[in-house]
């Protein structure tokens, strides 16, 4: 059964009735990210589609608030009209997951959905400053607010960001925003092996010239030749200066080509959305680790998972990895490769049967799993919200 509340009070009533019936409840925004996490067994669905609209926008305070079902597109257009943007460049999962529909702002919060800018400007969770959510008692709970600096009480905002609906139904979210840069350029180096490319990115990110995004696309990812990318965003005069300084600093790696405008935007959209892997039959993983360990991890994985291909974002600290689906989509080999290096792996795309059999999120240590189960119960004592979406039994 599909519930489409149009007010918070209605949503509270829907949740209360589900709690009463003790049936698993799926939460849906625009439905563009439904394949994330473990497959669900929900018999009812609540959607934020009836909760839309911007509730607060103060450009001079750099803050925007909206009901959870508000299309992301509306948020981005509203911000752009005043020369602003979301700081964290949220990924669009439609290409990768083969879904349709309109992404919502609530899902950005619920999934902590970020993109290449995360390396410098933080993730969605770093810009999310306030939430309203209905917990598994049918109570409307608020945390945070509309101001950036706020340490009043426990930071439930962070806890809910990236909880994929398992802690409650978000009704409203508030984000800090940033001015849109005057000019954006991308510097591209060619022909670097992974190790050298990550060294280049580390050198750039450790320089005073503030790259806002740093990625490496090995051979065969979007082009025949390997490409190493740095994006600069700033006032125009600064861009010219910083691009020149970076080229000088990194001259040992060759001379970069400078791209801007549509070509630059399109390239970063592909990186953001991992659309190099769109439309294939492969399983897709997302590995998060210390940047200089990136090439070590992929080298180890290449030895044990035939057919693996990958690219790097976040200066090497985020690896998008595509592998053949057969069996468990390389889960054991991938996690074994990460073990000595630190970090963790999340299975982003695979058939339902694989995502049901393989831990989608990295298994946690026993004490942390206990804490995770306790937190789930503290929000959702009857276990109605997206049961098993992140971990079996939670």
């Amino acid at each position: 059964m599909l519930h489409t509340p149009t007010t918070e009070a209605q949503a509270c009533a829907v949740v209360a009735s589900i709690v009463e019936a003790r049936v698993p409840l799926a939460i849906r925004g625009g439905g563009t990210r439904t394949g994330l996490g473990r497959p669900d067994n929900a018999v009812s669905t609540i959607t934020s589609a009836g909760l839309t609209g911007i509730t607060l926008y103060e450009p001079s305070e750099m803050v925007i608030g909206a009901k959870a079902g508000t299309p992301l597109k509306l948020i981005e257009e509203t911000l752009a009209a005043r020369g602003q943007m979301l700081p964290f460049e949220p990924m669009d999962h439609r290409a990768l997951l083969g879904t349709e529909g309109e992404p919502t702002i609530g899902a950005i919060a619920a999934g902590n959905i970020s993109g290449p800018r995360r390396i410098n400007a933080g993730a969605a969770r770093d810009s999310l400053i306030g939430i309203k959510l209905i917990n598994g008692r049918g109570e409307l709970v608020k945390s945070g607010g509309r101001v950036m600096k706020n340490v009043t009480g426990l930071d439930l905002v962070k806890l809910v960001a990236g909880s994929f609906g398992t802690l409650g139904f978000l009704t409203e979210v508030t984000f800090r925003v940033l001015p849109r840069p005057e000019r954006i350029v991308t510097l591209i180096w060619e022909d670097l092996a992974d190790e050298a490319a990550v060294a280049l990115l580390s050198g750039a990110l450790g320089s005073p010239f503030e790259p806002m995004a740093a990625a490496h696309l090995p051979a065969g990812i979007g082009a025949e030749e390997p490409r190493t990318l740095l994006r600069l965003e700033n006032f125009s005069a600064s861009i010219s200066y910083r691009a020149a300084e970076l080229a000088r600093l990194l001259k040992a790696h060759g001379r970069p080509e400078l791209v801007e405008g549509r070509a630059s935007d399109a390239l970063w959209r592909e990186v953001r959305d991992a659309s190099f892997f769109a439309g294939t039959q492969e399983a897709v993983w997302r590995l998060s680790l210390a940047p200089t360990n990136g090439p070590r991890a992929t080298a180890a994985i290449a030895r044990t998972v035939p057919g693996a291909r990958w690219f790097y974002d976040w200066g090497g600290g985020l690896i998008w990895l595509a592998v053949p689906v057969d069996g468990e989509a390389g889960a054991a080999a991938i996690r074994a490769a990460l073990k000595p290096l630190g970090g963790h792996a999340t299975l982003v795309r695979a058939p339902d049967a694989v995502r049901a059999a393989v831990p989608v999120f990295e298994p946690l240590s026993e004490p942390l799993m206990r804490v995770t189960a306790g937190i789930k119960k503290s929000f959702d004592p009857e276990g109605i919200f997206e049961p098993g979406r992140m971990y079996a039994g939670i």
Binding site: E58, G83, P179, A290, W314, G317, F361, M390
Partner: protein, 478 residues
């Protein structure tokens, strides 16, 4: 001053003091256990010195394992624990109680690892904030959060309170700059949360721990982000006739798409106090001062400043004075960062920490003035203008109990005002005991109960820093 209540000490624990101390003595090195009254005295308060309580005992472990042993023991014995970093909390976050053991991390003060390629440092919780920057500054790096107490305050305390500072407009607060912690839980389990990578598997426990005021466990180590310093930084002083023009200029600068690395506001009393202390060359003929810092190459700073100065002129700025040397820059920041200390030389004060939407600035400043005058007191205002985090310093005489009470009442009125206009009780100092009883102004019962239920996952019996954050009445266990 005695307006803030403490829980009645547990007589059973007080009666068992000798046995508890004997138990602790078996767990840590002899010099890590402090029991004599004289030696416990420095731990009876923090930077909220109006309140003091003598703890049962103080333990200063040297290792995570010692912290684990002591926490497990206290948990088993049902003895409250008050975690302590450097004891610089302005909110009373580290003030003990008579039936509690203080666990201080001050001996755990080593920097364990610096990794420039991955831009992180691993440090023990007792390392001071400034020592992290000190360890990497020769190589051109820094640790971004910079609370005014950074010379003394510890990373562990910063994590407990999610501390900010003057430069978080651009670089964020503690929670945006910590990637991992080693956390000891009440049952003695040691867990690693996060590490060298940028996002969490599962729930964002790191985000929950940071700012939890020592109520979920004790952090003994942290992996923090270190950033490459800009090529140069230059603070500029802008003297405005009144705070109204200064506030409007701040909004206009942000509206023009410029995010300076810092925008600090001082009113006339604050300017006078800080100038007398630091001789920073602050303009004395203005009603409100903005310190705006820009970063980058010389040419970049010139270009950004030209834009900012043009906006400031549109808003009636009087004096514009750029720092011309590293010494002048140091003096400008010394003046601002010693605002609390300098104020302490001329009067007792309590320091508020509410945040407001910056658009409400003129209204709040006017209302605040009325509130303070209504109590017959004086106030000096310093604050982080870019993010609306106010620090009114309410001046009073601590030897006059009536005036002390008025100061607390005025402070409470100001914080309620902050919440009324859409802000919050505390932007970077934490709730501690100071704002605990105002939590119901900002949160309703459902909000507070949800927080307490999460808290109970870690500490169902209210043993960890129990007198803090949540009102003593109406607490729930799970």
């Amino acid at each position: 001053m005695s307006a803030i209540a403490f829980p009645v000490p547990d007589a059973g624990i007080l009666a068992r003091r000798d046995a508890i101390i004997a138990g602790l003595a078996g767990l840590v090195a002899p010099d890590a256990l402090i029991t004599s009254e004289d030696e416990r005295r420095p731990y009876e308060t923090d930077a909220l010195t109006a309140y003091r309580r003598m703890p049962l005992a103080v333990v200063l472990p040297s290792t995570t394992q010692e912290v684990a042993a002591v926490l497990r023991y206290c948990g088993e014995q049902g003895v409250p624990v008050v975690p302590r970093g450097a004891g610089t909390s302005l909110a009373g976050g580290a003030i003990p109680q008579e039936d509690a053991v203080v666990i201080g991390v001050s001996k755990m003060n080593r920097i364990l690892e610096i990794d420039y390629a991955n831009r992180v440092a691993k440090v023990q919780a007792g390392v001071t904030n400034l020592a992290v920057t000190g360890a990497v500054s020769a190589d051109g790096f820094f640790y971004a959060p910079d609370p005014s107490s950074q010379l003394a305050c510890s990373i562990g305390g910063n994590i407990g309170m999610n501390s900010g500072g003057a430069h978080c407009l651009k670089y964020g607060v503690t929670t945006n700059n910590v990637l991992g912690v080693t956390l000891v839980m009440l049952d003695g389990s040691i867990v690693e949360i996060g590490g060298g990578h940028l996002d969490a598997p599962g729930y964002d426990l790191l985000g929950l721990i940071i700012g939890s005021e020592g109520q979920l466990g004790i952090v003994t180590e942290a992996t923090v982000r270190i950033l490459r310093s800009a090529e140069g930084a230059r603070p500029v002083l802008f003297g405005f006739p009144t705070s109204v023009e200064a506030g409007a200029a701040v909004a206009a600068i942000i509206g023009a798409g410029i995010i300076p690395v810092a925008m600090e506001f001082m009113d006339k009393p604050a300017i006078e106090i800080c100038e007398a202390f630091a001789h920073a060359g602050y303009p004395m003929d203005c009603g409100a001062l903005l310190i705006i810092e820009v970063e980058g190459s010389e040419a970049e700073m010139d270009a950004q400043l030209a834009r900012i100065v043009a906006i400031a002129r549109e808003h009636g700025v009087g004096t514009v004075k750029e720092s011309k040397s590293a010494m002048e820059t140091a003096a400008i920041w010394k003046g601002r960062k010693s605002a609390f200390g300098a104020t302490g030389r001329i009067a007792d004060y309590i320091c508020m920490d509410g945040t407001i939407p910056t658009g409400q600035l003129p209204f709040v400043l006017e209302r605040m003035d009325e509130i303070i005058k209504g109590y017959g007191l004086r106030v000096a205002n310093v604050f982080h203008a870019g993010d609306g985090n106010l620090h009114p310093l309410i001046l009073y005489n601590c030897n006059d109990p009536i005036e002390a009470q008025k100061a607390e009442d005025a402070g409470n009125d100001i914080l309620k005002l902050c919440v009324e206009v859409g802000g919050c009780l505390t932007g970077e100092h934490g709730v501690g005991i100071e704002k605990r009883d105002l939590m119901t102004v900002q949160f309703n019962e459902a909000d507070l109960h949800q927080q307490q239920r999460v808290r109970a996952v870690f500490d169902p019996r209210w043993l960890l820093n129990p007198a803090k954050v949540f009102p003593l009445e109406g607490r729930i266990a799970a």
